[in-house]
């Protein structure tokens, strides 16, 4: 995992501080207001209203629009991965629900085939099935050696997917992997499963271990409670 240097947020240079790691999922927890990110001299402006990034009125038309620039394999790969209903490609973007828009946006990202994929607030309001789908897509993007940057405050999702976490508010507050960032820093919100272990350590001075899932946490509690 190399580090991409020359990373900026909102035009402020963080060359020595902000470390985006390539070929993995970077999650940025934003306590401030990230408007844009510059990586390797390319500016990525964060769109708060996803519907504005579509050039045409439906996914089918978007595919036609970009067909000249994208090879057929990529399109077919994306279609296989997302498993959208046939009618969905004809659906008018203005009538799409928030979750449909988000998935469509992810679909487009797969077609663009850029090395760096930036996703802003991608999980809010997604149901369990769609989050699973999203995780499959992230895995696929990693397979394609892409660098993924997710800006979100959804710590439970971050706990599931992040390889690298960066916490930002006007400047970099901290960064590292999830066990470093969630455990060693005093953030506003951390995953429930980590918060529990932290409380046990703070209150009872017992180290029960930091886990990914509640089932693993249960084993620790059982061991240390008896």
């Amino acid at each position: 995992m190399e580090v991409i240097s020359n990373s900026y947020i909102n035009d402020k240079k963080y060359e020595n501080c902000l470390k985006i790691k390539d070929n993995c999922v970077n999650c940025i927890i934003d306590y401030g207001n990230i408007r844009d990110i510059i990586i390797n001299n390319r500016k990525y402006i964060l769109l708060k209203d996803i519907s504005k990034c579509f050039k045409t009125s439906s996914l089918e038309k978007e595919i036609k629009y970009y067909k000249k620039y994208i090879n057929k394999e990529l399109i077919q790969n994306a279609i296989d991965l997302f498993k959208f209903d046939e009618n969905f490609y004809k659906k008018n973007i203005k009538t799409m629900s928030s979750s449909e828009l988000r998935l469509s946006y992810m679909f487009l990202n797969l077609l663009f085939n850029k090395d760096i994929v930036i996703l802003d607030d991608i999980t809010s309001n997604l149901d369990k099935d769609n989050i699973k789908k999203l995780m499959i897509i992230l895995k696929e993007l990693k397979k394609q050696n892409k660098t993924i940057i997710i800006i979100t405050n959804d710590v439970e999702f971050i706990h599931k997917v992040a390889d690298n976490i960066i916490v930002v508010k006007d400047e970099v507050i901290c960064q590292g992997d999830k066990y470093d960032v969630f455990v060693n820093y005093d953030l506003n919100v951390i995953p429930n499963v980590i918060q529990f272990s932290k409380k046990v350590k703070e209150k009872k001075e017992i180290k029960i271990g930091y886990r990914d899932q509640i089932t693993d946490l249960m084993k620790d509690i059982y061991r240390f409670a008896k």
Binding site: K128, Y222, A225
Partner: protein, 234 residues
């Protein structure tokens, strides 16, 4: 007691049948979570309740409400809403709001909190929040919900985050345009099969409580994390 009722609602959008004879009753001053898979019709239902979509099936206090009256009685907020501080009528509150949140460069979180506070001050009968809490931290979330409760506003919180439901009186599950259940939170959270069928997880503390009870490490359900830690390690 005043009730919001949706009676025998049929609604289609172009060729898609969204609601077929839907009936829903929400008690005044109650806090409700509206949960369901994506595209189950939650936002559509909310827009019908607040009058953005016209129907004749919404009753408040046993009277049919039309869009005009609904506008004053129901406020709908989603992530793209931008309520303006100028809508506040009490000067003191207006000044306070201006001092807390600067006009330029508002983050989505700040705008959402501001929207909710402005809405509370406008004292609607019903407040509908569509996926607004997902960008607000849980400590602030709790305070806002307590404020809504204090002001006796009926709340419908549309969300996919089951953790929010712990603060609410009732859970309404909507799936494929049908009301699956509309009951007290704790009773819905006990129905494991129902939740699984509708692909809804349990809130963390309830899931943990159930597991710990199974192993006899605690006797009853505990929602507060500090209390849980103290109970296990006395």
């Amino acid at each position: 007691m005043k009730k919001l009722k949706i009676v025998n609602l049929d609604f289609s959008y172009k060729n898609d049948m969204i609601f077929n004879n839907l009936n829903l009753e929400i008690k005044s001053k109650s806090l409700n979570s509206l949960i369901g898979p994506n595209c189950s019709g939650k936002t559509t239902l909310a827009k019908i309740i607040c009058g953005k979509i016209k129907t004749n099936n919404v009753y408040f206090d046993d009277k049919v409400v039309d869009r005009g009256t609904l506008k004053q009685q129901v406020i709908y907020i989603d992530k793209l809403t931008r309520l303006s501080i100028s809508e506040l009528t009490i000067p003191k509150v207006k000044e306070l709001a201006k001092s807390i949140v600067p006009k330029k460069c508002r983050t989505i979180k700040e705008q959402n909190i501001l929207n909710i506070l402005i809405a509370i001050n406008l004292k609607p009968e019903i407040l509908i929040l569509d996926d607004v809490f997902s960008v607000i931290d849980s400590n602030i979330k709790k305070e806002i919900i307590e404020l809504i409760k204090k002001k006796k506003i009926t709340l419908i919180d549309i969300t996919n985050n089951i953790e929010d439901s712990i603060y609410m009186d009732n859970i309404i599950i909507l799936n494929e345009g049908k009301i699956i259940t509309n009951s007290k939170t704790m009773s819905v959270l006990k129905k494991e099969k129902l939740l699984k069928q509708n692909k809804i997880d349990l809130p963390f503390m309830i899931d943990l409580s159930n597991k710990l009870k199974f192993y006899d490490l605690i006797d009853e359900q505990i929602i507060d994390m500090d209390k849980m830690v103290d109970t296990i390690w006395k």
